[in-house]
């Protein structure tokens, strides 16, 4: 069974990672390096165990373009999120034996090195993936 693990962050979180002054305690070079090393190891281990299907990090929310429509015409909005609004930051697709195993994998993300203020509010979601029409038809 495949599961998607989703993590979230706000533009302020991204700015902090990029070394910008955000009012919150900034990410030091060590924090940033430790986060990179942790992610590398986390991904390598999932890849080794054969459970990793794919993983991606998303660029900062400010780089978002939202396509909508207004009065029947397409409208493009740049970076539609408030700075503090949390949006998808990255995801993993894992293929593993059970929901519990996927939860265990996602649980290890709690150890991601980061400044305390970031760690305190970080969370992840795990959602089963619908493989095909038959899953929906039940």
């Amino acid at each position: 069974m495949k599961y998607m693990i989703l993590t979230y962050a706000s533009q302020v979180d991204y700015d902090g990672m990029a070394g910008k002054d955000t009012g919150k305690p900034a990410w030091s070079a060590e924090d940033f390096a430790a986060m990179g090393a942790f992610m590398q190891k986390f991904n390598d281990e999932l890849s080794e165990s054969g459970e990793l299907v794919e993983t991606r990090a998303l660029a900062a929310p400010v780089l978002t373009r939202r396509l909508g429509s207004k009065d029947g015409a397409s409208v493009v909005t740049d970076g539609p999120y408030a700075e503090t609004q949390e949006v998808l930051a990255g995801y993993w697709i894992v293929e593993c034996d059970s929901f519990d195993r996927a939860t265990e994998i996602a649980g290890r993300l709690a150890d991601t090195p980061a400044p305390e203020s970031v760690r305190a509010t970080a969370y992840a979601d795990i959602r089963p993936i619908v493989e095909g029409q038959e899953d929906l038809a039940g």
Partner: protein, 403 residues
């Protein structure tokens, strides 16, 4: 104790075996599968049975047998489908092994393929990397890379390319050099992710360039490309700090540069330049050599670098070259002249939105003493790159300038 099937030996032999097979039988795509199976057989059998006296001949024999099986079953399938099945047996011609690898490189860089496919196929067929390794390097799922490589092999087949040196050899060699350099730059300045350097790809590109240089020792651009990559790679240990942060060349600890790579690169380019004709890789290598031979940023022979960039600008229309030229002019003749040159480049839409343009302007403004302008330009540059390490570097530069 039987000798192990060393990975290095297999990687060296893989393109030769594939080349020999394709030359004899054609069928690039099926031959590639057959060679992979022969390589797997070698890793399984050699450790227990001992390495054969002639590993290359052993691999060719096993791969040929496998290819024949694969083609027979394919033929049978086609016959069932009432299609005229035909696979040609090209009589083996006495061609040197080295030519096979060269032809294979030309085939992988076939103009019918996209750059991404050329790179993937070259890494797989000539580099001997597994699909999984290539997929990891490019951060795509393995299934995606498998499909990309399969499609590439089909395109080569559909193009009807014969296994021989192409008639437009000079043009095709340009494509081969470009592919190798793209593999190198992908490894050197990885465009995505938290890690700035993917060392394996850079090493693989250098290995391929060495191979090409051995096959075409008289070609001065091949020598130039190898020299350029060695001279650039020589700075790798000093290019990032302990936390993976970018360190610009002016601030690098030059004692950490790899002296053996510099010596080799300098020797290569020194021999290649007078032989001519002089092309862009030789000129870039010459510039890299001037940097690498300077004891410090201040002691760099900037006028010579300016002169080399001017020659380069005459033969290429590349805005990055123009940008680097402006930096060199600023270093040789002062930041004001550099900023004047930048104004001309800003109109080039290929680079007008690029963070590097803003980073250079920020740096030159800082040198002129326009700190407010410099600060704003650093912040602007940071906002224009998606690479977090680069953002961290540029934001730190902005923060270091007191408002």
């Amino acid at each position: 104790m039987p000798e192990p099937a060393s990975e290095e030996l297999l990687r060296e032999l893989a393109p030769q075996v594939l080349g020999a097979l394709v030359r004899r039988y054609g069928h690039f795509d099926t031959a590639e599968d057959a060679v992979q199976e022969a390589l797997v057989a070698a890793t399984q059998q050699w450790p227990s049975e001992g390495r054969p006296d002639n590993p290359r001949a052993w691999l060719i024999t096993v791969a040929s047998r496998r290819l024949t099986d694969l083609l027979r079953s394919e033929q049978a399938r086609r016959r069932r489908e009432d299609t005229v099945a035909q696979w040609t047996m090209v009589p083996a011609e006495p061609v040197a092994d080295s030519d096979d690898t060269l032809i294979l490189l030309f085939l992988c860089c076939h103009p019918a393929l996209s750059a991404a496919s050329q790179i993937a196929l070259t890494l797989r067929a000539v580099g001997g990397l597994t699909t999984a390794e290539i997929a990891r390097g490019f951060m795509v799922p393995e299934a995606t890379m498998t499909r990309r490589i399969t499609r590439a092999k089909q395109s080569v087949r559909d193009s009807g390319a014969r296994f021989s040196l192409p008639s437009n050899r000079v043009e095709r060699l340009d494509a081969v050099l470009k592919v190798i350099y793209l593999i190198f730059t992908e490894g050197y300045a990885s465009t995505t992710g938290p890690s700035l350097q993917r060392v394996e790809f850079a090493a693989e590109a250098i290995r391929l360039a060495r191979l090409l240089h051995r096959l075409l020792p008289e070609d001065s651009e091949v020598a130039g490309l190898l020299a350029l990559m060695l001279l650039t790679d020589a700075r790798r240990p000093a290019r990032t700090g302990p936390g993976g942060e970018l360190i610009p060349m002016a601030e690098q600890d030059r004692s950490r540069w790899l002296t053996a790579e510099i010596a080799e690169g300098v020797e290569l380019i020194t021999k290649a330049l007078p032989r001519g004709p002089v092309g862009p890789y030789q000129l870039q290598a010459a510039i890299a050599a001037v940097h690498d031979e300077a004891a410090s940023a201040e002691e760099t022979d900037w006028p010579q670098i300016v002169a080399l960039y001017e020659v380069l600008l005459r033969i290429t229309d590349n805005p990055m070259v123009a940008l680097n030229h402006a930096v060199a002019v600023a270093m040789a003749r002062g930041p004001a002249e550099g900023l004047q040159l930048l104004e001309r480049i800003e109109g080039d839409e290929r680079i007008a939105a690029d963070h590097r343009l803003f980073a250079v302007r920020a740096h030159l403004l800082e040198l002129t003493g326009d700190l407010a302008g410099a600060r704003a330009a650093y912040v602007e540059a940071a906002a224009r790159t998606t690479s977090l390490p680069q953002q961290r570097y540029l934001n730190a530069k902005a923060a270091a300038i007191a408002p």
